[in-house]
Amino acid sequence: MSRLSWIKTALEVGVVTKKYPFERVEVPDGFRGLPIFDSGKCIGCTACANVCTPDAIKVVNDFTNGFRRIEYRLGKCIFCGRCADVCPVSAITITKEFELAYTGDVINAIEIKFIKCVQCGQYYTVSRHLKHVSSKLNDEALEGVDICPDCRRRSNINSLIHASGVFR
């Protein structure tokens, strides 16, 4: 008798199976899918790589060829969305794409060119990052922004020595 009541319940509920492969499925609001990196906006500040928990975003500084390579490995990503939170220019958007199965390896990379120090001629930072920082500073702080940290340290010490008057 009880089994007959199950049949009644099943008839009341009806078909529950989703028709997913044959029709589109709507993901809920706030779903975090594939992050997309906008190479036009990215300034190469590496904030995303600093917060990335599984090291899915990795920074490789190639000082010989003169570019900074920011790699995003899909296989490592846990879709936490912290990179999009910390990006200062909002170059990273979290999309709702969830059909991410792949074979082999999927690596999305952005390569940004370095600029050279005007004094010693070494690569030291990316021009976009420098421009972004410079736009937020006043003129006083902009002094010596186009030389590398080593050269700046040297020139600071030189000026200190001359100001103190030890070596006159």
């Binding site: 997913y20 999927v106 976009r128």
Partner: protein
């Protein structure tokens, strides 16, 4: 990619994961998503299976058992790696107790057992949606095309 003519039977193997990917796999098998309508069936032994569903970051403790199960699957075999832990190590990529995902497992297989890489489909996500798993199996069967691709953008 399609190496099977008939329905695939899968063996589910947790290699030290947190269980959320396993719950999603069970969700795929329930009447709500119901992959048995496509002929995909869960079996109790790797010897009966065509494909291995791997979840978890492959801890060192379970590595010999995983290799045993992988070698027990008859050819042609397929590995479906589910979840970010398996596809690349996830947040456990450099911990002392895991080997850090599928690529390291394949290295061990090749160096110590001389077994070539079986054909693999990786489904990232933490955990992946049930629809995502269905899409991954469809990719393994050659029904759909891969959506994500490797890109390199070079800017000034």
């Amino acid at each position: 990619m399609n190496i099977y003519k008939k329905s695939i039977w899968v063996f589910h193997l947790n290699t030290g994961g947190c269980n959320s990917c396993d719950i999603e796999i069970l969700d795929v098998l329930t009447p709500y998503h119901d992959v048995e309508r496509f002929g995909i069936k869960l079996v109790a032994s790797p010897r009966h299976a065509d494909a291995l569903l791997l979840t978890g970051p492959v801890t060192k403790e379970i590595l010999p058992k995983v290799i045993d199960a992988l070698l027990a699957v008859p050819e042609p075999k397929l590995v479906i790696a589910i979840g970010s832990c398996t596809t690349g190590g996830g947040i456990w990529y450099d911990t002392y107790s895991t080997i850090g995902g599928l690529n390291e497992l394949y290295k061990v297989l090749k160096e110590e057992y001389g077994v070539p890489e079986p054909s693999t489909v990786k489904i990232p996500g933490c955990p992946p949606k049930p629809e995502s798993i269905i899409y991954g199996i469809a990719l393994a069967l050659g029904v759909v095309q891969q959506k994500v691709t490797t890109t390199t953008a070079r800017v000034e």
